[in-house]
């Protein structure tokens, strides 16, 4: 396989950067959401859970089109962004981060939520009787017990963002170095009938995705062996 050209490398790097940034953001923000979903008895719980799950069902181009409208100068997100004096989101890296965040949200919230539900209240109550504070309980009891869920969430969030296409296509504008990610570059090659370059990128993505899923399986097996959730 011959080398990728500079444009392909830029796209690859941009995709990795996007997936990395989005994964970190998702893990940080999904944890409280998943916690709330796993514990709340509020009447809002189900509608909010449904809302978060929507990107699983909606065609990405539909999601992208609504994001384009919402981020536009007359849209709700666009107005908030303008209020804070920030530059508009569409056609920028920041815009892709926001779009990818919503797009990958269910893939991160659900594994974490499942893991938190599996841990249940009891270990936390026991820890509380041993005078562990809330922060202590979170970091030394909940997090280690729910670790497999977090690992799955991180890998799925990263992989899903890496392969994202429809949303980026709709809000990206194909700017090299800013919004021209791997999947869009690949699509361009295919559409321009440059099948050789398309093949190289596709093979790379295929190999990478397979490796990532393999690591996920391996981590799951290891976690199942080392963490004792069988109480």
């Amino acid at each position: 396989m011959s080398a990728l050209d500079a444009g392909d490398f830029a796209a690859l790097w941009l995709s990795l950067k996007l997936a990395g940034v989005v994964t970190v953001l998702l893990l940080v923000l999904s944890t409280p959401i998943a916690w709330w979903l796993s514990r709340s008895r509020s009447r809002l719980r189900d509608p909010i859970a449904a809302l978060i799950t929507l990107p699983l069902i909606l065609p990405p181009t539909v999601l992208g089109f609504y994001l384009l409208l919402a981020m536009g100068p007359d849209g709700p997100i666009g107005k908030v962004v303008a209020f804070f004096g920030l530059s508009p989101l569409p056609f920028s890296f920041a815009g892709l981060v926001v779009g990818s965040f919503f797009y990958s949200l269910p893939f991160v919230v659900q594994p974490i939520q499942n893991a938190l539900e599996a841990v249940g209240q009891r270990p936390l109550e026991v820890a509380a009787t041993l005078r562990a504070g809330p922060v202590d309980r979170f970091f030394t009891v909940l997090l280690p017990l729910a670790r497999p869920g977090f690992v799955t969430a991180a890998v799925l969030g990263f992989a899903h963002t890496l392969g994202e296409f429809g949303v980026v296509l709709m809000i990206g504008g194909n700017i090299p170095g800013a919004t021209q990610v791997l999947s869009v570059q690949l699509y361009d090659h295919v559409e321009a009938l440059d099948y050789a370059r398309a093949h190289r990128l596709a093979a790379l993505m295929l190999g990478f995705s397979f490796a990532m899923m393999l690591v996920l399986q391996w981590l799951r097996r290891r976690n199942a062996a080392t963490t004792d959730l069988g109480y």
Partner: protein, 255 residues
């Protein structure tokens, strides 16, 4: 299963065969570039007043159609957004009768009422984001790039946002995310303010049609192509925002 259920299932194929013979001909299947789909629908509506032929459309980008037609997609006619894909199909022996059916027209949109000269608006280039179709993929994008080069305008990479096709370039402007762009005249609604870009600022956007070699009704396909040259058809094409190619121009360029 009841007896009547069995009878129904056995009779079903028979009924469908009967139904097919009553309708007699299969429809003409047409692969059409998205930008021309609306005009083609109007053409078909007019055409069907004179003939009994059924026509069904598949809309999509010319590149995708081309990739599928190369691999035997079952279409009788291919209305491309350029003449390159049709010519390639002819060269590969997969199609015949490459004919130009329209010249695409570029417009600068939106424009304020007081501006009448596109060179002035493009020369100042006060756009934070300017939308065109991707020149690598779309003929309208290539023409837009030629217009900018002709005027010596060099937007920064961040200023120039590229839609996958001309519909997306339109969408970027429509949603207010780009302040202007070069899009197709066929996309403009009556209330839009736009200025047509002079034709000599770019190579003509030659939109060509071919009859696929795999067609089982090349005669009906040829008749529809002949219809395109009638005054009634040319009126519809012109009203759709296209120009009628001069007879001196041919598929594959001036000869």
């Amino acid at each position: 299963m009841t007896l009547s259920g069995v009878v129904k299932i056995c009779l079903l194929p028979l009924f469908s065969i009967l139904a097919a013979t009553v309708v007699n001909a299969e429809p003409l299947r047409i692969a059409v570039a998205s930008n021309f789909a609306q005009t083609l629908e109007q053409l078909i509506e007019d055409y069907r007043q004179h003939t009994a032929v059924d026509l069904v459309l598949a809309k999509g980008s010319s590149g995708k159609h081309y990739a599928q037609l190369q691999r035997g997609a079952p279409f009788d006619l291919f209305f491309s957004a350029d003449d390159d894909f049709p010519q390639r199909l002819v060269d590969a022996g997969l199609a015949s009768h490459c004919i130009l059916y329209a010249y695409g027209q570029l417009v600068l949109w939106p424009t304020s009422e007081e501006i009448s000269d596109p060179a002035q608006a493009l020369g100042q280039f006060e756009y934070r984001r300017f939308a065109i179709a991707n020149p690598r993929l779309a003929p309208y994008g290539r023409a837009a790039e030629q217009v900018l080069a002709f005027l010596g305008v060099a937007p920064s990479p961040e200023q120039l946002v590229k839609g996958e096709n001309i519909a997306q370039a339109y969408q970027f402007i429509y949603t207010g995310n780009a302040q202007g762009g070069l899009v197709a005249r066929s996309q403009m609604r009556t209330e839009d303010h736009y200025i047509p870009v002079p034709r000599h600022w770019h190579e003509p956007i030659r939109q060509a049609v071919v009859i696929m070699g795999s067609s089982r009704q090349p005669q009906a396909a040829a008749e529809f192509i002949n219809y395109l040259a009638t005054p009634a058809a040319e009126r519809i094409i012109t009203a759709g925002g296209y120009l009628i190619p001069p007879p001196t121009d041919h598929c594959g360029g001036q000869q």
